[in-house]
């Protein structure tokens, strides 16, 4: 028995050496938890980019393959997220992480796991303004914009639609609080009034108390900065039932297929926004995604594709899969100058980089990294019309 164990251990060592050119990429998102309905399409987006790079066979001089390992964060469970990240790094030996998904959990993983181990993280969906100033040793990037930007976009949408008094309720965590405060600051600076900015807890039995307070405060529109699969849905139900509000604004945590199915007909005229753009890359990505058999239009799927692509292109530019080396090349490949790269052209990009040409990765979500390595931010504005959720413009 002992010999057998030794033998298999030895074989594993040998095979480990033989596959040294296999790069592993961690996909660390909330496969369970309040945004679990978005996770499958995000993972599929990231896998699509990896698949494309593998098919080209050009990464790091050829012969190198990339595989992905999934880790679950639970979205609001920092403990689970940290444990999953540690497993990805110490036991699966990933060279980079696409993730985390929600803001609180992402901050925890960055501070407790990614920084001590020196691993690059590119989050497709963590949007809290707090992450812009978090210490990251140059290891953290995001292909989604900060909510400070979303707060400004929301203000613009409300002003364009002629609303000047709103009530705000947010889910009581880093994402909700960050967005609600950013929005309130921007909206009040533009001359609007926020009658009440109150938290709601997710997964509670009854939201009549929250709606009672919000209705008493009043406002033309109720801004629900929550999660559709959690308290956000309960708040809308309670508001509609009591007739407290019939117009809502839905930020990115609310905009999903569930929202369209359950509430489109009930909230006619309501509106909202989530990250997305009308760039050429988006259209290409939608075609590619549908061919690969997932829903590329679902929120953050495009951003996930871009996160994975950026990591791999930066490796190519650095000529190394060592995070300490390639972390300095992420901004270079993401921004001008250089030849513009759309989804489906990753093979071409690898070729260009190998030949020493600059690339400017545009990707599926019109990536342009600014400041501390976060997306400048393009949003898709949606509206409920005739019982359906339709895209009415881009900002």
């Amino acid at each position: 028995m002992k010999k057998l164990l030794l033998a298999s251990a030895a074989t594993m060592l040998v095979s480990g050496v033989a596959h040294a050119e296999d790069i592993k990429l961690g996909i660390l998102i909330g496969f369970t938890g309040p945004l679990e309905s978005l996770a499958p399409d995000m993972a599929a987006g990231a896998n699509l980019a990896v698949q494309e790079v593998n098919d080209s066979g050009l990464l790091l001089g050829g012969g190198t393959t990339v595989s992905t390992v999934n880790g679950d964060t639970g979205c609001i469970d920092a403990g689970l997220a940290v444990a999953s990240a540690e497993r990805l790094i110490t036991s699966d030996h990933v060279s980079g992480i696409v993730g985390g998904m929600c803001s609180g959990e992402t901050g925890a993983v960055l501070a407790n796991v990614a920084m001590p181990n020196g691993i690059v993280m590119i989050s497709p969906s963590a949007t809290s303004p707090g992450l812009s100033t978090a210490e990251d040793n140059g290891l953290f990037f995001r292909t989604s914009p900060s909510d400070a930007r979303q707060g400004q976009v929301m203000t613009d949408i409300l002003n364009d639609r002629g609303f000047d008094t709103v009530a705000v309720t947010y889910t009581n965590n880093d994402y909700g609080k960050g967005l609600a405060d950013a929005f309130q600051a921007a909206f009040e600076a533009s001359g609007g009034t926020v009658t009440l900015n109150a938290a709601h807890e997710d997964g509670k039995a009854d939201y009549s108390a929250e709606i009672g307070a919000l209705a008493s405060a009043g406002g033309q529109v109720l801004v629900v900065a929550g999660y559709i699969d959690q308290g956000g849905g309960g708040i809308i139900d309670a508001a509609l039932d009591t007739g407290a509000f019939d117009l809502f604004m839905f930020p990115d945590g609310m905009v999903s297929d569930t929202l369209a199915e359950k509430y489109a007909a009930l909230t006619e005229g309501s509106f909202g926004q989530n990250p997305g753009s009308d760039s050429e890359g988006t259209t290409v990505f939608h075609t590619l995604g549908e061919a690969a058999g997932f829903s590329p239009t679902n929120a953050f799927s495009a951003e996930s594709y871009d996160a994975a692509a950026l990591i791999l292109l930066a490796m190519q530019a650095a000529g190394s899969s060592d995070p300490q080396v390639y972390k300095d090349f992420v901004m270079d490949v993401a921004n001008a100058p250089g030849e513009e790269i759309l989804p489906g052209q990753l093979g071409h990009a690898l070729e260009l980089i190998a030949a020493g040409t600059d690339v400017n990765y545009v990707g599926a979500s019109a990536v342009e990294l600014i400041g501390p390595g976060e997306s400048a931010g393009n949003y898709r504005e949606i509206e409920m019309r005739g019982g359906e959720m339709v895209v009415v413009g881009y900002r």
Partner: protein, 336 residues
């Protein structure tokens, strides 16, 4: 006119939601209190028992809907309710046979039974998720409103709307029927009387020839019915999600303890105390006061005693106050 508006706003945002939430908590607390009174332990698996009963009611409701059966304006789930109760009864009797009876024969201390019920809770947790999954399920059908806020405004010409949902009416009516039946059973029938005797003094009851196993069986049957009814009413009114049912345990226990554990009347009172304290203490009175007071005295601020973040703190503050000054609860129950 303004006074009527104030009254309508109060009804719409405080009294009606409080009534239906209170009724749901009261039926849940009745189940907890019965187990405590007769089997002498706090049953932590009660929330998941509710989820289990609701699960089967939902499955049968879906089947009935697919067969085209409906109750018109009333939710179809009411027809499916007996099946849910039956399945829950089987589950509870099975659990009693397999788990609780063993500890009862050992004359285990109540605290051991509490921990055992926690184990049962986790198992039921798993079973429910295995059968129906973790997602939110909306199984209410029929007419959504008896009167909607918009209709009410048009009918009366008032500024404030009053919405009454079908499920709220169903909840309150069903709760009244269930409570009446339970009190009739406990006070008028022979079995009910033997249950009360058993609860008051076990030894004396045994001496006078009451069969303990029969009392236990009947208790579980009643608890199954109460848990399923409470779960289905809650699910109809809001929506069904296993995780929320697990969290319902907290307010239900608070209700049972505030009222006095083991005292059915107390459980009902406790349910309403907890529900109304959650809604009223954190209510922003601005709207009501603006209507009720003359313009010059209308408030600018929200007139909110506590932010809604603290609504759970309110029910626990009440719980602690009651336990400090009246350990047996508002109505004379057993002390914890």
């Amino acid at each position: 006119m303004d006074l009527i508006n104030a009254l309508v706003a109060l009804l719409n945002y405080v009294i009606i939601p409080g009534m239906s939430y209170g009724a749901q908590l009261a039926i849940g607390a009745l189940g907890v209190t019965l187990v405590y009174g007769i089997l002498r332990f706090s049953n932590f698996a009660h929330g998941d028992t509710m989820a289990f009963g609701t699960t089967f009611t939902i499955l049968v409701t879906y089947w009935l809907q697919s067969m085209g059966v409906s109750l018109g304006p009333l939710p179809t789930a009411l027809l499916a309710l007996p099946v849910g109760i039956l399945m829950t009864a089987l589950l509870l009797l099975g659990t009693d046979r397999a788990v609780y009876r063993f500890y009862r024969r050992q004359k285990a201390a109540p605290v051991i039974l509490v921990i055992v019920s926690m184990g049962v809770m986790f198992v039921m947790n798993g079973i429910v998720r295995f059968i129906i999954g973790v997602e939110d399920r909306d199984f209410a059908d029929g007419a959504r409103f008896v009167i909607s806020a918009r209709d009410f405004k048009q009918m009366t010409g008032l500024e404030e709307g009053l919405a009454i949902r079908t499920t709220q009416v169903v909840t309150v009516v069903t709760a009244l029927v269930v409570m009446a039946l339970l009190f009739w059973f406990l006070n008028r029938t022979r079995t009910g009387k033997s249950m009360r005797a058993f609860s008051d003094n076990e030894d004396l009851a045994l001496l006078s020839g009451i069969n303990p196993e029969r009392v236990v069986t009947v208790t579980w049957l009643i608890v199954a019915a109460l848990a399923t009814v409470a779960g289905v009413l809650y699910g109809l009114d809001k929506s069904f999600k296993p995780f929320t049912y697990f969290q319902l345990l907290l307010p239900i226990f608070a209700a049972a303890i505030v009222g006095g554990l083991g005292n059915p009347l107390g459980a009902i009172a406790g349910g309403f105390v907890i529900a109304f304290s959650e809604v009223t203490v954190t209510y922003a009175w601005k709207k009501v006061l603006t209507y009720a007071l003359p313009d010059s005295m209308a408030p600018d601020s929200l007139v909110q005693l506590l932010s809604t973040d603290y609504k759970f703190a309110v029910s626990f503050a009440i719980l602690i106050t009651v336990l400090l000054f009246k350990p047996t609860g508002l109505f004379k129950g057993q002390s914890v």
